[in-house]
């Protein structure tokens, strides 16, 4: 929509390249999108902000032709359009870098880039040489030095990510969707991604940027749109809005105490680790954890923190070193041993490692504690429900019944079930691996609140996190890991963002 201001400013045409007007999408029992509007402008980055369940991934799926809207219109350059298939969306110039990996290990780099739209020869066969040449060109344009003929499975994670980006760019697009693109990237890669975004903007592409990291949003976005519970709540220029206002729109209320700190009453050491090593994942790890303490573990993705925690929990075996609880050396042959020693682990990958979807909430909660609820090996459901009621009410779980399939709960509530499960085992040490990753801001505050209470009640807490505000806000002490080793340990005044980042990246020197 051309405004006089825009004309007066002599700006480029301010008509949106792509718009949603009153788009609705309903699934059985859930209205994912309720009459939402969205505008994407050429050469500008629009950040789509909202809690989990706000409808962002549904928007992406409609834009890429995977879902069809039930109501409303999609306008491309002012013309009403449909994307009945993924191919149609691609043809209309919409491409996406997804959150999940859309890649295939057994195909070559070039085939991965062009799958679904490979160039053909006269006979309808795939034109492999043309495909490889074009793939090479795309890769070079994003600074990736990869041979398009090798199989994807031979590449490391960073290179695979570059292939995913190349794939998104292989479609001559006017709209580029980036869905939580920096979730698994190192600082260097994030920086390169920002440069790529600038390049795409300069090429006049319209970018839809989905993220819940406000520092990122304020760094690269030009405009913002907020959804809440499937509804459009507002949009505008980034320059004219504050983080607090965005959060307020997202949540519908003011949320200030995201990082509640309670005075720490640190008790005697509970867990002592010395010389802990693994052949490929970490080396010479040593630290002490005290009762009532929250010990933060910071580092870049791939620094080895989760691997260390999983070894402490008995998932993998260390090759050297000892870990002691209350001065007793622990021999861990499996997770059952760790649990009986009082160490529990709330995993990062909630869906795959934490909750058992398909089973009811109460069965999830009692799983490691069956010995306690059962008698002579026989189940006692009344006991299981009692245990579940106790711990889920403590965590303010929201569910229709304790019998409900845990897979139907929201991410935040699934996390609560997982935490309830571990609390029921009465642990001494609880390890939380990225506990608020991908969780809406309301539940985030609740989890943090809860962590503080756990520490106050005498538990020893280890928190692995990649978010500096969270690490600094919640921890009493921070250990920074880099490439499988402990790079530094900070406490008190020396717990600053600069120190953390430097230690994690291996830059010498410290701020005073």
């Amino acid at each position: 929509m051309l405004t006089e201001t825009a004309l007066a400013k002599g700006a480029e045409a301010m008509a949106p390249v792509l718009s949603f007007r009153g788009i609705t999408k309903t699934f059985p029992g859930v209205r994912a999108l309720d009459g939402v509007d969205l505008d994407l402008y050429a050469g500008k980055v629009t950040a789509l902000i909202g809690e989990n369940g706000a409808g962002k991934s549904t928007v992406v799926k409609i834009l890429t032709g995977i879902y069809q809207p039930d109501g409303g219109t999609i306008l491309v350059n002012g013309v009403e359009t449909h994307f009945p298939t993924a191919q149609a969306a691609a043809k209309a110039g919409v491409t996406a870098i997804h959150q999940e990996t859309v890649l295939f290990d057994e195909l070559t780099v070039a085939e991965n880039i062009f799958i679904g739209h490979a160039p053909r020869t006269r006979f309808g066969l795939i034109d492999t040489s043309a495909m490889e040449v074009e793939a090479k060109r795309l890769l070079t344009s994003i600074g990736a030095d990869l041979d398009p003929r090798i199989r994807l499975r031979e590449l490391g994670i960073a290179s695979k990510h570059l292939v995913a980006i190349a794939r998104a760019l292989s479609i001559d697009a006017s709209v580029v969707i980036m869905d939580e693109p920096t979730a698994a990237l190192s600082h260097k890669e994030i920086h390169e991604l920002y440069e790529l975004v600038e390049k795409l903007k300069a090429q006049g592409k319209a970018i839809l940027f989905i993220s819940h990291k406000f520092d990122e949003i304020f760094r690269i976005a030009d405009r913002w749109t907020v959804f809440r519970d499937g509804q459009f709540v507002g949009s505008g220029e980034i320059a004219e809005v504050t983080e607090a206002r965005l959060v307020q729109l997202m949540v519908g209320r003011e949320v200030d105490k995201i990082y509640p700190k309670r005075p720490a009453r640190i008790g005697p050491p509970v867990l002592t680790v010395a010389g802990y090593s693994h052949p490929t994942e970490f080396d010479d790890i040593g630290f002490t954890l005290h009762q009532g303490e929250i010990l933060g573990f910071y580092g870049l993705v791939g620094a080895g923190r989760s691997e260390l925690m999983q070894a402490l929990f008995g998932i993998t075996r260390p090759s050297k070193g000892a870990c002691r609880i209350d001065d007793r050396v622990m021999v861990l042959r499996g997770t059952a041993d760790a649990i009986s020693a009082g160490i529990v682990y709330v995993p990062e990958d909630r869906g795959r490692q934490g909750a058992v979807k398909g089973l009811p909430i109460f069965q999830n909660v009692t799983l490691p504690s069956l010995a306690k609820t059962s008698r002579s090996g026989f189940l006692r459901l009344a006991e299981e429900f009692r245990m579940t009621r106790d711990y889920t009410s403590r965590l303010d779980l929201r569910a229709a019944s304790l019998d409900q399939d845990v897979g139907l709960l929201s991410g935040g509530n699934q996390q609560k079930v997982v935490i309830a499960k571990w609390l029921a085992t009465r642990p001494r040490v609880i390890i939380l691996d990225e506990p608020t990753k991908g969780i809406d801001i309301g539940s985030k505050a609740a989890v943090h609140d809860f962590m503080s209470e756990l520490a106050a009640e005498g538990l020893a807490v280890i928190m692995v996190s990649s978010e500096i505000p969270e690490v600094l806000g919640m921890s009493d002490r921070v250990i920074v890991m880099r490439e499988g080793r402990i790079a530094a340990e900070f406490s008190g005044d020396r717990m600053t963002p600069e120190n953390l980042v430097r230690a994690a990246a291996g830059i010498e020197g410290e701020a005073a």
């Binding site: 890429t64 032709g65 995977i66 298939t85 993924a86 191919q87 691609a90 996406a96 997804h98 999940e100 990996t101 859309v102 890649l103 295939f104 290990d105 057994e106 195909l107 085939e111 799958i115 679904g116 739209h117 490979a118 309808g124 066969l125 795939i126 492999t128 090798i150 031979e154 590449l155 490391g156 994670i157 960073a158 290179s159 990237l185 190192s186 890669e189 052949p279 490929t280 994942e281 970490f282 080396d283 870049l300 993705v301 791939g302 620094a303 080895g304 691997e307 993998t316 490439e483 499988g484 080793r485």
Partner: protein, 329 residues
Amino acid sequence: MTGILKSREAILALAILALLALVAMRFPAFILPGNLANVLTDTSPLIILALGQMVVILTKCIDLSIAASLALCGMVAGLLNMAGVPIAVILLAVIVLGALLGAFNGLLVWKLGIPSIVVTLGTMTIYRGIIFLLTAGKWINAHQMSPEFKAFPRAMILGFPVMTWIMIAIVAIFAVLIYRTPLGRAFFAVGGNPHAAVYTGISVGRTQFAAFVISGTLAGLTGYLWVARYAVAYVDIAGGFELDVVAACVIGGVAIAGGAGSVAGAVMGALFLGIMKNALPVVGISPFAQMAISGIAILVAIAFNARSSRQKGRIILKQAEHRTVEGTA
């Protein structure tokens, strides 16, 4: 990059050569070209069906009904022959029938979402039972088949029988199909990452349907070849053959979890089994030992498959990196 020597296909080729060498030590006449040609012809049905099964397994499915489809189409071929239908029409008929049998499987998997092992477990008995319904259990014997019917697969061209040429043609077509067509690449995509395939516009169900149609078509064609070559058709022909076919795929490195495998591998897996089957009686091992040896070969192949595809734990420590090409972040 893995060197050529370490590739699975190369190891399989070496294993075949080693097997031949072992046999030749006891019975040198085995590796005479004439005999090897016979072995190749004998193994052709297995090779053809292994290719069909390969695309099914690639898409994370399994087709246990191929032997029954083969038998049914073979019987129909025999019946048509007795009714005086020309060979060309018979060939067309078995191909179409095989495709339909495969399509039935494929539809149940695609449109109703029934797991393929259940579908083909059911159709396996249904298809074989239909043979009985068609013939009330009677056999078609050699003297009831026309001479052209029996002679066609054995007709010699350039030193090899037609059956072998058909197999070679199918291998060639498959190589193009798998490596150079979008459908061929889709088989790998669907099996390797079915959730992601949707984002690239590939329909998982439709790809699986195509795989079953291909598998059924090949079973139909092989039905005629089998019945014509062995000059007999009855309810129980090729009984249990579906397991040999799956074994050939496994030995050939086709991952049962889907998404990985190669045409060369499937062909060599079938060759390995075929050579073994032919060699054992000649070397003096009782044919009764064949089953046990097949079983051991399968188990060894599986263990080998697993070892080569096992993902190494995350390599985080710099000193643990062996490859200079790619490390992790």
